[in-house]
C-alpha cells in the first residue's frame, strides 16, 4: 500500500522565495458530477474553521503571498508562493486551507456563477473553443473530455455536502506536500510533521474511471466566435500516460516535429517557413499525460482557405516520420536540445516545487537531473523510430477545425 501522505523539502535558489505545493489525490477524474472538483478545490480558500474568505484574502495580501486553491483533473490542493521569511506562515496556511475547510454555502453559490462566467469567457476565445471540442473528440467519456467547470446543470447539482464529501475522500486517497526555496530544510520538515501528522498511514485505492473512447467522427468542424479570417486546426490522438517508459523517446519526437527552439522542427519549417500557411504551428506528443493517457497534438492557426493544406501537410509529415524515421543529425540535435534545456526547468524555487510534486505524484525520477541526462544519453535513434511507429498513427488522426461563423 502506498503511503497516504508524503513530504519533500528542498533548499534551492538565490531569491528569497518559498514555494509550497499541497496536492490531494482526486480531482475531476474522480468527481461524481462535472464541476464538483473545481468547486471543492476553490472552496478551500473560501473559509476555514478559523477564518472567512475576507480574512484569508486580507491576511495573505498583507504578506504579499500568492495563495491559490485549485483543482485539476487529478487533484485538489493549495499552492502558496511567498517571501522566504514567511515560510512558516505559508506552510501553516496550506495546512489550514487543506485540512480545515468549512465549505460555506454562500460562497459556493458565487463560485458556481463565477465558474460559468469563466467557461463562457474561455469558449469565447476561438482557439480555446476549438481545443475544447478536440478534447471532447479524443476523450469522451473520460473526464479529460469535458471542461473542469462542468456546465450550468451539473454545477447546480453540486452542494456543500458534495464538496465536503469529495474532500473527505481526497484525504483518504492521500497526497503530498512539497516545499522548495531559500529555507532551512530541517525546520520545514519538523513543522510539516507537526501539521500533517494526522495523515499518516496508507492511502485508499483510487477507484477506476471511464476509459477514453472518443467520438465516432474522425473529422470535426466547429463554429468559433471570430471576426477574423482564422481557422484553428487541431490534429492528434491519444498516446501514453505520464509514467510510460516511452515518454523520453516521445519527447525527442516532439522536438523533431516542432516543440524545439524558435521555429525549428519539421512542422513549423514546412507549414510556416516554407509554405507560409500559418503564423503559429505547434506540436506535442504526450501533452496532458497524467495517470491516464496524454495525447499527440499538432496545432496550426491558419487562414480558413489554407486549413486543408495545413492539415494535409501535418498528415504527410507525420507519415514521413513514421515511414522514413529520422536522420542521425536530426536525432542528435533533438536529444542535445533536451539535455541542454533541462537546467532551464530547474532555475527557481517555484519550478523545483512543481518538478518535485510531479515526480512524487506520478512516481517519477524526473527530479534528478542526472536521471534525465542518463535516460536521454542512453537513447538510440532506433529507439525513437520504434516509439514513432508505436505511438504516432497518421491513419488514426482525429481532426478538429474551428472556423468563424
Amino acid at each position: 500500500m502506498a503511503a497516504r501522505f508524503t513530504t519533500r523539502v528542498k533548499r534551492v535558489g538565490e531569491a528569497p522565495i518559498v514555494a509550497v505545493r499541497l496536492w490531494l489525490r482526486g480531482g475531476a477524474r474522480l468527481e461524481d458530477v462535472p464541476g464538483q472538483a473545481l468547486l471543492t478545490g476553490r472552496l478551500l480558500a473560501e473559509g476555514t474553521r478559523r477564518r472567512d474568505w475576507r480574512e484569508i484574502a486580507r491576511e495573505s495580501d498583507d504578506r504579499g503571498m500568492l495563495l491559490q486553491s485549485l483543482a485539476t483533473y487529478e487533484s485538489i490542493g493549495v499552492t502558496v508562493d511567498a517571501l522566504a521569511e514567511d515560510w512558516r506562515l505559508a506552510l501553516d496556511w496550506a495546512a489550514e486551507l487543506a485540512l480545515e475547510p468549512s465549505f460555506p454555502e454562500d460562497r459556493l453559490d458565487w463560485l458556481r456563477r463565477q465558474a460559468l462566467g469563466e467557461l463562457e469567457s474561455l469558449l469565447d476565445q476561438p482557439e480555446v473553443r476549438a481545443g475544447r471540442a478536440f478534447l471532447e473528440q479524443l476523450y469522451t467519456p473520460h473526464p479529460y473530455g469535458r471542461a473542469l467547470q462542468g456546465d450550468a446543470e451539473s454545477l447546480g447539482a453540486v452542494d456543500a455536502d458534495a464538496c465536503a464529501g469529495l474532500h473527505r475522500r481526497a484525504l483518504e486517497w492521500g497526497g503530498l506536500l512539497v516545499v522548495a526555496g531559500r529555507i532551512d530544510e530541517a525546520a520545514v520538515e519538523s513543522r510539516a510533521a507537526e501539521l500533517f501528522g494526522s495523515l499518516a498511514g496508507s492511502a485508499a485505492e483510487l477507484p477506476p474511471v471511464d476509459a477514453p473512447r472518443g467520438l465516432a467522427e474522425a473529422h470535426r468542424e466547429v463554429e468559433i466566435p471570430d471576426d477574423a479570417d482564422q481557422a484553428h486546426l487541431y490534429a492528434g490522438h491519444l498516446t501514453v500516460p505520464r509514467r510510460h517508459p516511452d515518454t523520453v523517446a516521445l519527447a525527442v519526437l516532439a522536438v523533431v516535429l516542432g516543440a524545439g527552439a524558435g521555429m525549428s522542427g519539421r512542422l513549423p519549417e514546412r507549414i510556416r517557413e516554407r509554405e507560409g500557411l500559418a503564423y503559429h504551428v505547434d506540436a506535442a506528443t504526450y501533452v496532458g499525460a497524467g495517470l491516464d493517457a496524454g495525447r499527440l497534438v499538432t496545432y496550426a492557426a491558419t487562414s480558413t482557405d489554407t486549413a486543408e493544406a495545413a492539415e494535409r501537410a501535418i498528415r504527410e509529415e507525420l507519415t514521413r516520420l513514421v515511414d522514413d524515421g529520422l536522420d542521425q543529425a536530426e536525432f542528435e540535435e533533438a536529444r542535445s536540445y533536451l539535455i541542454g534545456r533541462d537546467p532551464f526547468r530547474r532555475e527557481t524555487a517555484r519550478q523545483w516545487a512543481d518538478i518535485l510534486a510531479e515526480a512524487e505524484f506520478y512516481g517519477l525520477e524526473t527530479d534528478r537531473p542526472e536521471w534525465v541526462t542518463e535516460r536521454l544519453g542512453a537513447l538510440e535513434r532506433a529507439d525513437v523510430e520504434a516509439a514513432a511507429r508505436r505511438w504516432i498513427r497518421p491513419s488514426e488522426l482525429r481532426v478538429t477545425v474551428g472556423r468563424p461563423r
Partner: protein, 477 residues
C-alpha cells in the same frame, strides 16, 4: 554603512518589513557596465543559480521609429533577423539554437526591440557570434521578405480574432491620437504591403548600430566576458542618429467611449493617462493602481468580483514607457449581469479612491504586494537580464532602484495629489466595450459618475490579459 546598505535602510521604513528590497540591490550591484569604443553598452551580470547564461541585445529601435507609411517595420525587421545574415542562412539560427539545447526569441515594443538567447554556461558564446553577424548586416532576400510578410499578415489576423487583443488595439488608437503609442506594433495590412527589402535595410542600417544598442550577458558567465564581447562586436561601426522626440501624447478630451460587437462575453477595457516611467509620480500611481487591483483584497476585486459578484475577474495595470503612457482596468462580466452595472461600479471605485486616498494599512499592503511581485518576477536569469538591459537602454541602470526606493518610502498622505491627477476618467480617458453580438445591452451613456461605496467582489483567476504587454503593446515572432 555602505551606499547600498544606506539605500536599503531608507527603503525599509517599517522595522525591516520591506527588507527584501535588498534582492534588487543584489542584482544591480552584481552588474558591471562598460562601453566599447564603438559605443556598444555592455552589462555583465553574475548570477549563479543555474548553469545558464542569457544574452539579451536591446536596440533603441521600436514602433515609434517606423517611417511614415511603413508602420510595422521594426517588428517586420525583428522577424527578418532570423531569415539570413552573412554567416547564417534562413532558419539556421533556430536550428543551431536547438542543436545546442538553447532557447531564443525576440519581441518588439513601441520603445525598443529585444533579442535573447539562453544557453548552457559552457556554450553561451555562440550567441555573440550570431548577434554580431546580424548586427553587421542582413541578406534580406526578396523571396524571404515576401514570405515573412505573409506570416505577419497571418499574425495580424490571429490577433484580430482574439477578443482582448482586438479591443486593446482600438482603445490604444483612441488613447494616443497622433502619438506612436497609438499605432499597432505589427502595422496594418496596407503598410506591410508597402514595406519591402529596401525599407527594412534602411531601418537596419539606421538603427541597428553598436552605439544604439545594449548587450547584457547574465548568469553563470565565468571570466573573460569583456574580451569575448570586444572580439565579437569591437570591429563594427558604431554611430547611430539620435532618436527624434515624438510629439507629446495628446490625451483624449473627456472620456471617449467606443464599442465593438464580437463573441458572447462582455469585456471592458478602460485606459487612462499615466506619466512616463521616470516621472516622480509613476511609483505613486503604481501604488494607487495596486490599491485598486492587486490582490484579492484590493478595492476593485472586492467591488467587482468577491463581493459585488459582477465579473469573473478584474485586472489593473500600469505601463512603464519612455513617454507618458497609460494605466488600464480590464474585466469580463458574468453572464446575466448588465454591463453598465459593472462599469458604474468600477468608475465609482476609481472616483472613491480619488476623493478618499487609501489608508496607511492599504498603502502598506500595496507596497508589500508590489515588492513581492517584483521578487517573483525577477527570479530567473533571463528576467534579470531584461531588467538591467531595459533600464540601460531606456533609462539608466539605477532606475529600478530609484523607482522601488521611492515606491517603498511613500506614505498614504503623499498619494492625494497623484490620485487627483490620474484617477479622473471624466477628464481624459478611453472606455472600450466589447459586447456580445446581438446583445440588447447598450453602451452606457456619458452619465455623471456615480458616487457609491464599494459594492463587492473577489476573483480566483483574473480575466485573460488584454494582449501582450498591455497598451505598451508588443509583437513577438
Amino acid at each position: 554603512m555602505s551606499k547600498g546598505a544606506a539605500r536599503e535602510a531608507a527603503a525599509a521604513p517599517r522595522s525591516g518589513e520591506l527588507r527584501p528590497a535588498g534582492e534588487l540591490r543584489r542584482i544591480l550591484d552584481g552588474a558591471r557596465v562598460e562601453r566599447l569604443a564603438n559605443g556598444l553598452l555592455v552589462a555583465t551580470l553574475a548570477a549563479g543559480q543555474a548553469p545558464l547564461v542569457t544574452t539579451a541585445l536591446i536596440y533603441r529601435a521600436g514602433t515609434r521609429d517606423d517611417e511614415a507609411g511603413h508602420g510595422g517595420t521594426a517588428h517586420f525587421l525583428e522577424h527578418m533577423m532570423f531569415k539570413g545574415s552573412p554567416r547564417y542562412g534562413p532558419g539556421e539560427i533556430d536550428l543551431l539554437t536547438r542543436a545546442l539545447g538553447g532557447s531564443n526569441n525576440a519581441f518588439t515594443s513601441h520603445d525598443m526591440t529585444l533579442y535573447y538567447f539562453t544557453f548552457a554556461a559552457d556554450r553561451w558564446q555562440q550567441a555573440l557570434e550570431i548577434e554580431s553577424d546580424r548586427m553587421a548586416g542582413l541578406t534580406l532576400d526578396a523571396e524571404a521578405v515576401r514570405h515573412e510578410r505573409q506570416v505577419i499578415l497571418e499574425e495580424i489576423a490571429m490577433y484580430e480574432g482574439e477578443p482582448w487583443d482586438a479591443l486593446e488595439q482600438r482603445v490604444s488608437a483612441a488613447a494616443f491620437p497622433g502619438h506612436p503609442y497609438g499605432r499597432p506594433v505589427l502595422g496594418t495590412r496596407e503598410q506591410l504591403l508597402a514595406t519591402g527589402a529596401e525599407a527594412l535595410a534602411a531601418f537596419h542600417q539606421r538603427l541597428y548600430r553598436p552605439a544604439n544598442a545594449v548587450l547584457v550577458v547574465a548568469g553563470d558567465v565565468g571570466g573573460g566576458v569583456t574580451e569575448q564581447v570586444e572580439a565579437a562586436f569591437g570591429g563594427l561601426d558604431g554611430e547611430a542618429p539620435r532618436r527624434a522626440p515624438s510629439p507629446p501624447p495628446a490625451a483624449p478630451n473627456g472620456l471617449v467611449r467606443l464599442e465593438r460587437r464580437a463573441g458572447e462575453v462582455a469585456r471592458m477595457l478602460l485606459s487612462l493617462p499615466a506619466p512616463a516611467a521616470t516621472a516622480d509620480d509613476h511609483p505613486l500611481l503604481r501604488l494607487l493602481v495596486a490599491v485598486l487591483g492587486a490582490g484579492r483584497s484590493s478595492r476593485l476585486h472586492r467591488a467587482l468580483v468577491d463581493e459585488g459578484q459582477l465579473c469573473v475577474g478584474v485586472s489593473a495595470d500600469l505601463n512603464e514607457s519612455v513617454d507618458p503612457g497609460g494605466w488600464t482596468v480590464a474585466f469580463e462580466v458574468i453572464p446575466g449581469i448588465e454591463p453598465r452595472r459593472a462599469e458604474e461600479t468600477a468608475l465609482a471605485e476609481i472616483e472613491r479612491l480619488r476623493r478618499q486616498p487609501p489608508s496607511a494599512e492599504e498603502v502598506a499592503r500595496a507596497q508589500k504586494i508590489v515588492l513581492a511581485d517584483w521578487i517573483f518576477d525577477h527570479e530567473r536569469v533571463y528576467q534579470q537580464a531584461f531588467l538591467v538591459g531595459t533600464a540601460l537602454a531606456l533609462f539608466d541602470v539605477e532606475h529600478p532602484w530609484r523607482y522601488l526606493d521611492r515606491l517603498l518610502s511613500v506614505r498614504a498622505d503623499d498619494l492625494a495629489a497623484a490620485a487627483e491627477r490620474y484617477l479622473s476618467p471624466e477628464r481624459a480617458g478611453v472606455l472600450g466595450w466589447s459586447l456580445p453580438v446581438g446583445s440588447s445591452s447598450e453602451p452606457s451613456p456619458p452619465a455623471p459618475l456615480p458616487e457609491g461605496e464599494g459594492s463587492s467582489r473577489s476573483g480566483i483567476e483574473p480575466p485573460s490579459p488584454p494582449g501582450k504587454g498591455g497598451l505598451g503593446g508588443e509583437g513577438s515572432r
